[in-house]
Symmetry: C2
Subunit: 127 residues, 2 copies
DNA sequence: CTGGCACCTGGAGCATGCTCCAGGTCAAGC
DNA sequence: GCTTGACCTGGAGCATGCTCCAGGTGCCAG
């Protein structure tokens, strides 16, 4: 099992060191192990958990809900049904997000098309 | 051409009245017309522009960039090429957002699948 | 031995995007 | 005439999610 220095964890996860410390402070990460000098040493498990956090964060889950997920995870396997529920609810939210984004992207593309038409008209009249 | 009271504009656009006033304050909306009593009266054009704003906002465009778009729009038709550029750049950003969201949704679905497998294993051993 | 660098902690500060409030105006219904 | 309700303004406050800072420790290269 590999261990990662703070700099390596930053590299692996894409979170800034300040963000990692912040996540630990608020309890989104369990207290990270330390070496003799008190410096953090991240494990593969930590890095894996941070991967999950990144997924949830980047799909728009608020920190408060990630904290709930973290709490469930710490409470052991009997919370797996609740975790499934939480993730399925989030998955549905992501689905709505995708639909909404696509609809609105369509509108933006139409607007671009409209502007291009205006330009084409312009050329038709001035040439 | 219809006019809309503040309450009707809220209804039409889905923005709160405070948000509409805020958008006007920062110049995202041009100064909205007033009646004799100084109350706002929104036009169809205002409502249309707010629809555009909602599209851009909900697809993640920061206010600073919407302000740039608003400024271009106010400067007249000769800025249409720039507006196309801005919207096309944004469209590409939305595309990346969609891709990223889909990838991460996949990871979440796999995690849900994993949890369900754990539950199934559990049942297999305890029954 | 001495920098210099990566790291530590607790706490303050900040960027974004609203949201709320106090104090006031106007018009309409009872 | 009086209340009620929608609206006004300028300005303060807030929720989220980091980000930065001061002051200090420990380790390694030269």
């Amino acid at each position: 099992m590999a261990v990662y220095t703070p700099a390596e964890a930053v590299e692996e996860t894409g979170f800034s060191l300040d963000t990692l410390r912040y996540y630990e402070r608020i309890g989104l990460l369990e207290r990270i192990g330390r070496n003799a000098a008190g410096q953090r040493r991240f494990t593969d498990d930590d890095i894996g958990w941070l991967g999950m956090i990144r997924c949830l964060r980047d799909t728009g889950m608020p920190i408060a809900e990630m904290l709930r997920f973290a709490a469930l995870t710490r409470q052991g396997d009997h919370t797996i049904p609740e975790r499934i529920e939480l993730l399925e609810a989030h998955d549905r939210a992501v689905e709505r997000q995708l639909d909404d984004l696509q609809t609105k992207q369509g509108a933006i593309k139409r607007k671009i098309g409209y502007y291009k038409d205006v330009l084409a008209m312009d050329r038709a009249f001035t040439c």
